[in-house]
């Protein structure tokens, strides 16, 4: 094993193969739990439907869970992700919602990196003194805020204070236009319209900031502790000895090495960020798969949508695995001593 591109490809291939058992496990779990949560959903789904539809439904649900799961899997392999009761197919919903969610999560991640990491550096540099305590209070309050509460406070109090929009991807001034990617900012850019782009960014700020605020703690804390580990090391001393300014020593020589640990932890936050989108997208009317998941599990009084829920959970699982894979790749790129294993 070494550090050649082939080694990297083998590493990535192996990790992607691991996705198969993860996906099977995840779909079984969610399948079982959704189907156990409502023993007979047919009454709820078809209160006024004709007897045949109702009977078909009840026949389906009277079969053993294993048969039902097999059926689901067979459909899935044939590209049929199922549909909601209203016969809205799951796949297009996911395909359109996923990019919007991705955009939101990436924006949150961006904020976590450009704010959370420097905060960690500042905290480490002033460890034990007041800036350190301030930073700790800041990220602990983010950590302690329930997602729902944070989102609602942001939408109700923060939005008007800063004059920021708190619903949807664009304001009503932006006419509907073709969405190539279903990422609001990217599509506005593709359309080549600057005001639309700015409008999209404005709409992105609050939901992304909310997600970031709640998940930032781990990035700040990791940066702080790994900086504290790196700062007393000899090479930091020799960087100082070269005559580099403290800023250069900290942000180039020390942070470069402490980022090695921080990136792995950022990969772990992917789970938290994705979970957060369920509530944040619902509160901010963001048309992603988080909000879709919220309705699929019966949020807002909707009829439960088993196929939708399973699909979102599976996509989230893939998201978490891929995020960690990316983190591991970054780890290897940042640390020249690492061999691809």
């Amino acid at each position: 094993m070494g550090r050649s591109p082939t080694d990297l490809a083998i590493f990535v291939g192996k990790r992607l193969l691991q996705l198969v058992p993860v996906l099977i496990g995840i779909t079984i779990l969610t399948f079982v739990f959704t189907h156990l949560s409502t023993i007979n959903p047919c009454a709820q789904w078809y209160p006024h439907a004709d007897p045949t539809t109702r009977a078909n439904c009840e026949h389906l649900f009277s079969q053993p869970l294993s048969t039902q799961y097999w059926q689901y899997l067979t459909n899935l392999v044939h590209g049929n992700w199922g549909a909601s009761v209203e016969q809205v197919a799951v796949y297009p919903q996911i395909a359109e919602g996923l990019p919007a969610t991705l955009e939101l999560v990436l924006a949150a991640l961006f904020l976590m990196i450009v704010i959370g990491i420097p905060l960690g550096v500042i905290a480490a540099q002033s460890s034990g003194r007041w800036p350190d305590h301030l930073v700790r209070i800041f990220y602990l309050s983010g950590w302690a805020t329930p997602t729902y509460l944070g989102a609602v406070i942001a939408a109700i109090f923060v939005a008007p204070y800063f004059g920021l929009p708190s619903h949807g991807e664009y304001s009503s001034l932006v006419p509907p236009f073709h969405q190539y990617t279903h990422m609001s900012v990217v599509d506005a850019l593709i359309a080549g319209n600057l005001p639309w782009t700015l409008d999209a960014i404005e709409h992105l700020i609050l939901p992304a900031a909310t997600l970031a605020f709640i998940n930032m703690g781990i990035a700040t804390r990791m940066t702080r502790s790994s900086m504290l580990e790196v700062l007393p090391l000899d090479y930091v001393k020799s960087a100082r000895m070269k005559g580099l300014s403290e800023g250069w020593v900290l942000y180039k020589h020390a942070l470069r090495n402490s980022l090695i640990t921080t990136t792995t932890v950022l990969g772990v936050t992917a789970g938290g960020l994705l979970a957060g989108t369920v509530v944040v997208e619902e509160v901010f009317g963001w048309p992603g798969i988080g909000a879709y998941a919220y309705t699929a599990i019966g949020g807002g009084g909707a009829a439960p949508n088993f196929d939708g829920a399973i699909a979102v959970v599976a996509v989230f699982a893939v998201g978490v695995v891929v995020a960690n894979l990316i983190a591991d790749i970054l780890y290897g790129l940042l640390d020249p001593r690492v061999d691809w294993r």
Partner: protein, 380 residues
């Protein structure tokens, strides 16, 4: 004619750990004349590295605090210089080869980038007039020098990761092609085909190679004062010898002033002009190397020389002297050497103990901190 590059005057350094506090360096006075090599020897833990790192203000503060004293370097007292101004003095003014050279290269950057950075700093300072000729006798006003890093450091939080290396490289290359000079310094430390190691990372080099790169890096800034803190102790014996030979040649080629810390008397005998002997945080004797070796005027120096296998021969670190190294948090009263001293008399135990005084019948700069310095010669 006295023309010191650096003079340390009555320097005391404390380490504060929790509620405890001990004085690792007590009232050391020592200066390095221009173009001279000054050796400092002493048993392990006597405060050599603490003294060495205090001069460029590299000690972590806390736990270290400079209790009292002055460090005069080019007309300013470094003890009074605010820490944020120290970077302008480090590098081109004072540079250092560390005791643990193997971990002194940043594991995340290629050899080229690390060396180029040092040369870059020197070039920027040369351009801004902060450094004209490092060996010229004038005092430079470092406080007015253009800090090359200020504007670029602002960029740093935004480009934290791998990009930083590239951004720096680009910034560096605006100041001319650094590669020829990088190669030149690598050749200077006798790395034969330097091209092959430019793109390697430190962990891909052997210990001896890393040590040479460190030396090249320190020299490439053409420092006025170079502090070498046991530059060979982390290497195995054959490589030690090579590196030492190399350092001796370089001292002549580059002509910087050097503070050379070691606990190997053989090494000192071959390289130093003057020698300081430290014991339990204090300087107990100082003087020209030859005179110190021939006519030591402190019982501790005498014991050290006796313990050294063969005089003037490099044969590894000091062997033992009877008695044990004192505990610095409760140092012996009066003369700190008294529990181990063959000449000890009752008054040696009384505080404050002997101070450094010029010895009778020796060189003008030969000093010893012993009440009975004249009796030392008679010791076996």
């Amino acid at each position: 004619m006295s023309d010191p590059v650096v003079s340390v005057e009555g320097l005391s350094i404390d380490y504060v750990i929790g509620a405890g506090r001990f004085r690792a360096v007590s009232g050391v006075t020592l200066s390095v004349e221009r173009g001279h090599v000054v050796g400092v020897v002493g048993e392990t833990g006597c405060g050599k590295s603490t003294l060495a790192q205090a001069i460029p203000r590299l000690l972590p503060e806390p736990p270290a605090t400079i209790g009292e004293g002055r460090i005069l370097f080019q007309g300013q007292d470094l003890v009074q210089v605010p820490l944020w101004k120290m970077p302008r003095i480090r590098g081109t003014g004072i540079n250092m080869i560390f005791q643990e050279p193997l971990n002194s290269l940043n594991p995340a950057f290629r050899i080229y980038d690390q060396l180029a950075e040092a040369i870059y700093i020197r070039r920027v300072r040369e351009k801004s007039g902060a450094v004209t000729d490092p060996r010229a006798a004038q005092a430079y006003d470092y406080s007015r020098s253009q800090d090359p890093t200020a504007s670029e450091a602002l960029l740093r939080p935004v480009v934290p990761a791998g990009a930083a290396a590239r951004v720096t490289r680009r910034a560096v290359e605006r100041h001319g092609d650094l590669k020829p000079e990088v190669l030149e310094y690598l050749r200077l430390v006798r790395i034969n085909d330097p091209e092959t190691i430019l793109d390697l990372y430190p962990h891909e080099l052997s210990g001896g190679m890393r040590q040479r790169v460190m030396i090249a890096m320190a020299l490439s800034e053409k420092p006025t004062l170079l502090i070498a803190d046991e530059p060979t102790s982390a290497l195995d014996v054959t490589i030690q010898a090579q590196v030492l030979t190399l350092m001796k040649e370089l001292i002549e080629e580059v002509n910087t002033s050097i503070l050379f810390i070691s606990h190997d008397l053989g090494v000192i005998a071959e390289t130093a002009d003057e020698l300081g002997v430290m014991y339990a945080g204090k300087l107990v004797e100082f003087g020209p190397v030859g005179e110190l070796f021939e006519h030591p005027r402190h019982p501790y120096t005498k014991a050290l020389l006796r313990a050294a296998p063969t005089r003037y021969k490099s044969q590894g670190p000091l062997s033992s002297i009877p008695g044990s190294v004192p505990n610095l948090s409760h140092p012996p009263s009066g003369c700190r050497f008294h529990p181990r001293c063959p000449l000890m008399k009752p008054n040696c135990r009384i505080a404050p103990g002997p101070g450094l005084e010029t010895v009778r019948g020796g060189a003008a700069n030969h000093t010893s901190a012993c009440f009975y310095a004249d009796a030392v010669e008679a010791l076996p």
